[in-house]
């Protein structure tokens, strides 16, 4: 008896599958048309408002008075104020440079190929340098108080420090919470539980209002840095629990095998445990990090000018008919770019870390 040669059944082309899915039966066809109609009737006015009837130039208040659609002229005219707040105009090259450097470094740092010790050194040099450039008061740069900082550089600095510096701290907290040493375990557990139990808003208020009442002024860092540290600690507590989830999910045999080979605790964690544990929790890490990026906007409650508050400040100009929707859409687009970009990076990383099976 000979075996007939069997080939796997052919999958129909994508277009054919799509067509049969959408219009395969009368009910499907009806539903498809209904949805198309609903989407179309919602999208048409939006399109009309945002593009067809919108005004982009000239970037003057008069341009918007007769416009029926969006007043993008306002965003064009006030864009740099929204992006850089009330930072003195003649010194605006400083926040522009800081934003460009931070963005470039961020994009550079997201490539796994860059994850080598020099990267830590670059950041360790770049962060103080950006602060110094913003702050001034040295090397002929005029002094600009943090109350004058605003917009994109504030959001970027807070994001980079709150998330970037929180991440290593989170790893230490997660390891500490699983430590055999009771003192370390209790300390880490307490910190995580207490921080998580408080709303971020109250932590920010403690940092900006309560601390100055309790601690002598000369001991206190600037309000900006207090808010930054509050965000950092808050993010660290959340990230620590995500990291711990990855540590719990890893079979104990991995750490045992590393120990049995004579590797020490830190070598075991760094080379065997963490690369696997972090890979397991990329989706929830991404989730938490994106939430933390957006959390940076909450510093507005303690009087710091992030992107949203500098957008609001720009709206206060009486010359314009305060086009709030346009302004917030512009700010939203920036947040979207940051968060969506990070999300895409994370799913790319997830694909890369998947080991062949």
């Amino acid at each position: 008896m000979t075996d007939a040669v069997l080939v796997p059944p052919r999958t129909p082309p994508r277009a054919a599958r799509l067509l049969s899915g959408l219009f395969g039966s009368p009910l499907n066809a009806l539903l498809t048309l209904l949805v198309l109609w609903a989407v179309g009737s919602a999208a048409a006015p939006l399109l009309k408002w945002a593009i067809l009837d919108a005004v982009l130039f000239p970037a003057e208040p008069a341009a918007c008075r007769d416009a029926h659609g969006a007043c993008w002229s306002f965003v064009v005219a006030k864009g740099s104020q929204i992006l850089f707040g009330i930072y003195p105009i003649e010194e605006r090259w400083r926040p522009i440079l800081v934003s460009a450097v931070l963005l470039a470094l961020l994009v550079h740092s997201l490539r796994p190929a860059a994850w080598r010790p020099p990267l830590a050194i670059i950041w360790a040099l770049a962060l103080p340098a950006t602060f110094l450039l913003m702050y001034g008061g040295v090397g002929g740069l005029s002094y600009v108080a943090t109350t004058m900082w605003g917009g994109l550089p504030v959001t970027l600095i807070l994001t980079v420090t709150a998330v970037g510096a929180a991440f290593p701290l989170a790893i230490l907290l997660a390891l500490g919470r699983r430590s055999d040493l009771p003192a370390i375990r209790i300390l880490c557990t307490l910190f995580i539980e207490l921080t998580r139990a408080l709303p971020l808003l109250s932590i920010l208020f403690i940092a900006s209002i309560l601390l100055p009442l309790l601690v002598p002024e000369w001991l206190l860092p600037d309000k900006f840095f207090r808010a930054m540290i509050a965000l950092l600690l808050f993010a660290a507590a959340y990230l620590a629990e995500v990291v711990r989830g990855g540590l719990q999910a890893l079979p104990p045999g991995q750490a045992e095998a590393a120990q049995a080979l004579g590797l020490g605790y830190w070598q075991t964690q760094r080379l065997v445990v963490l690369p696997q544990a972090l890979g397991l929790v990329i989706p929830s890490l991404t989730n938490t990090i994106i939430v933390m990026i957006k959390n940076t906007s909450l510093v507005l409650v303690v009087g710091l000018f992030d992107l949203i508050s500098s957008g609001r400040a720009a709206l206060a100009d009486p010359e314009w008919s305060s086009p709030a929707m346009e302004t917030y859409l512009f700010v939203a687009a920036i947040y979207f770019t940051l968060c969506f970009g990070f999300g895409r990076f994370a799913s790319g990383l997830e694909r890369q870390t998947r080991t062949p099976a």
């Binding site: 095998a257 120990q259 080979l261 004579g262 590797l263 605790y265 070598q267 065997v272 099976a357």
Partner: protein, 252 residues
């Protein structure tokens, strides 16, 4: 490659009055055992008899609570440097292989020698490739563990342990997680290792391996060593009732 020399007058492993509790459960109840350099020991016994705990106490993956563990002259303490030194002398092969899935086979083998400073990357790689060839998986060196069969993975695990050039090899049921047709390839590798003079302690149910390779078979029950004898005496003239009952339950 020849097995590293251990001074013949110094025992490779000495266990003295070893006790181990898990909570209230008394897993090891005063175990004494001395293993000479070059000796091959097979440890067997019913499930829960403490054989895995015993072998894991030797490289201190489990800390004992009373008694002493001495490996190649060094007594195990909680001091991290001492523990690391002991673990570098005693390689271990696990039931579940425990290869590092995020690294290639070759990286699995070179990780510890390079990180511990025992070898340069070049030396470690050369040694790893020669040991992988010895366990006949050299052609898989650049694959990831998940791409290998169970038998191949366990042979890689043996090579990985050998890369630290240990004086003693510990095997914790190395064939129990394998499909039956892969047991032999792993046992053959272990037999070759024994032939080269490696000091070995193996927890295993493979009685054929025990007969062929072991200098002594140690039978454990309820956290104690009941009987330790040469394979001939152990299988043909067991002294204790419990040993006879255990052997009677094994398929021959």
């Amino acid at each position: 490659m020849t097995a590293p020399a251990t001074s013949p007058d110094r025992p490779a492993v000495t266990l003295h009055g070893l006790h181990k509790w898990y909570g209230d459960y008394h897993a090891l109840r005063g175990v004494d055992l001395s293993v000479a350099a070059g000796e091959r020991i097979v440890i067997c016994g019913p499930s829960g008899s403490g054989k895995s705990t015993l072998i894991r106490c030797i490289n201190q993956l489990e800390r004992h609570q009373a008694g002493t563990v001495t490996v190649d002259g060094a007594e195990a303490t909680a001091e991290p440097r001492r523990l690391q030194a002991i673990r570098r002398k005693a390689g271990m092969v696990f039931q579940g292989f425990n290869l590092f899935p995020h690294l290639t086979v070759l990286q699995n083998c070179t990780l510890a020698p390079v990180q511990s400073g025992a070898a340069s990357p070049g030396e470690a790689e050369a040694l790893a490739l020669s040991l992988l060839a010895r366990v006949r998986v050299a052609d898989q060196a650049h694959k990831h563990p998940a791409q290998l069969s169970g038998g191949q993975q366990q042979r890689v695990a043996i090579a990985r342990a050998l890369c630290m050039q240990p004086k003693i090899m510990l095997f914790d049921e190395p064939t129990s997680a394998l499909d039956p047709e892969m047991v032999k390839e792993v046992l053959d590798t272990m037999i070759e290792l024994a032939r080269d003079g490696m000091t070995m302690l193996a927890v295993t149910h493979e009685m054929g391996f025990a007969r062929q390779v072991a200098d002594r078979v140690v039978f454990m029950d309820q956290g104690r060593i009941v009987e330790a004898a040469t394979p001939a005496d152990f299988f043909d003239r067991p002294q204790h009732e419990r040993t006879r009952a255990f052997l009677g339950q094994l398929l021959h």
